[in-house]
Symmetry: C2
Subunit: 121 residues, 2 copies
Amino acid sequence: MSGAVNLAEKFALFSESWTPKIIGVVDDYHVKIARVEGEFVWHAHEDADELFLVVDGRLRLKFRDREDVLLGPGELYVVPKGIEHLPVGEPEAQILMLEKQGTVNTGTAGGERTVAEPEWI
Amino acid sequence: MSGAVNLAEKFALFSESWTPKIIGVVDDYHVKIARVEGEFVWHAHEDADELFLVVDGRLRLKFRDREDVLLGPGELYVVPKGIEHLPVGEPEAQILMLEKQGTVNTGTAGGERTVAEPEWI
């Protein structure tokens, strides 16, 4: 129906991993989706909490300071600002994220997987 | 696994409709869930966008100024701030919402279904 955002339809529009796409805006926040596969990079977002919700597959969040969090479909976790984390698709997952606009996927770590300005889909 | 928020487990903790529960915080925003059944009340949130994601069931969003939006599982819609809307469970739904902390469920409409301070579950 007009206006509804269907997650399965959005995921069907791309196949690459670790390239977040924007699917919505809530005030100053972006709703993003991504496919993830294997390890990403250790990073932190100094000034933004980050919500991860698994739509399909399995996502492990590794931390320096706490136990791993393993998420399956219908499970979510909010990584607090400043906390270093390593997202890992086990072996892969479709995830929804919510974070302040301008939050870069690799945080302060940078590197070749950085997507400074995700595209809208 | 420790720390993960499982939506199905959270919905199993309550049965009443139209009483949002907080399940997470992202900066100044609350992640809430609610069961909905039939019509709520027409209302608007003057200064807050509101994200609706259907986890189970079917939710209709009626508007004064645009076509209805009908959401099933895995579908979302963001109601822009200031836009009057009427959420309707058809016949019922489990929904996840994201909105600025302090956003009241009935907006500026008030009334007996107002939950000024949702509980955490």
